[in-house]
């Protein structure tokens, strides 16, 4: 199957930032350099010939083969042109996993990037509120979907139960999410501290 015409357009525009592309099961996948991914995605969204205005998903892949890098995947769709495109970036697992956030391009990237952070530990620079979303905020066992994370988790079952029972299920709310502003005085101390710090920033 032929590659999507976006590939040629990308190669014409970004030349050396486009590393390679492949076609798999009818989908076009383009590998790009991590440094320019924000620029490329912005162009893909705004260019008149591309118009990928819908960010379907952001996810990550780690392969069992230790030699292969960790890939961060953006699945794009152009609603007007009814076209799909998949962009991938390869990150070296030995180095810190950091990539640009596309929250300023697509607001939907908010929770998608939080999920990738929670499950793989990839930090997104420029994300307004990068904290865990599927696991509870103070989850300290690690990043579950990495290949070196055992299925049953690192801690013993008793320790997991203890940490789960003592986690505050409402610790994730920011002042905007809390409609009860008068509840500020009743919040636990650690929540107050986080709200005072503006509830922004990464989680360990």
């Amino acid at each position: 199957m032929a590659a999507s015409p976006s590939v040629a357009a990308l190669q014409a525009r970004f030349a050396d930032a486009i590393l390679r592309h492949e076609v798999s099961c009818g989908d076009t996948i383009v590998y790009v350099t991590p440094a320019r991914v924000h620029e490329i995605l912005a162009w893909l969204r705004d260019d008149a010939g591309q118009l990928f205005d819908y960010l379907t998903d952001i996810t990550a892949v780690e392969y069992r083969d230790m030699e292969r890098p960790l890939e961060v995947v953006w699945q794009l769709r152009s609603l007007s042109r009814k076209a799909d495109l998949r962009l991938k970036v390869e990150l070296d697992t030995a180095a810190p996993l950091v990539i640009d956030s596309v929250f300023d391009l697509w607001k939907g990237a908010d929770w998608l990037e939080r999920e990738v952070f929670d499950m793989f530990g990839v930090s997104f620079t420029g994300h307004p509120d990068l904290r865990r979303i599927l696991m509870w905020e103070t989850y300290s066992e690690g990043f579950p979907l990495r290949k070196d994370f055992p299925l049953r988790g690192h801690f013993s079952r008793a320790e997991q139960t203890r940490q789960a029972l003592n986690a505050n299920p409402e610790a994730n709310y920011s002042l905007e999410e809390l409609s009860i502003a008068e509840a500020y005085s009743e919040l636990p101390a650690d929540m107050k501290e986080r709200l005072n710090q503006g509830e922004r920033g990464g989680v360990k």
């Binding site: 505050n168 299920p169 409402e170 809390l178 009860i180 008068e182 509840a183 009743e186 636990p188």
Partner: protein, 121 residues
Amino acid sequence: MLQAYIPVLLVVAFVAVNAMLMLGLSHVLSSYRLTPTKLAPYESGMPVLGDARERFSVKFYLVAMLFIVFDIETVFMLPWSAAFNQLTEMRGLLLIEMFVFVAILAIGYFYIWKRGALQWD
């Protein structure tokens, strides 16, 4: 004449005594196993945040008050219509009287309409 009410009062007294007895006995005979979590308000298992006493929007009060006013107006119309039915002369005057009454309240209605008291949002 008041003797007819004695059975009613007896029933009321019986109900009150019965209710107090049931509540009182169950309070005395039961054992309480209170824990701090049990006493906390139920919020679907989440920790309790905030006060239950929230400020209400004033629009509820406005709607209730306006309802009372115009409901009383309607209530006054009912005996008037019964009297109207029975009085066959001076009907014109009676009609104009009621129109004046309604007109006075209509001025008030027009005022609250223009002041935005009928806006819900």
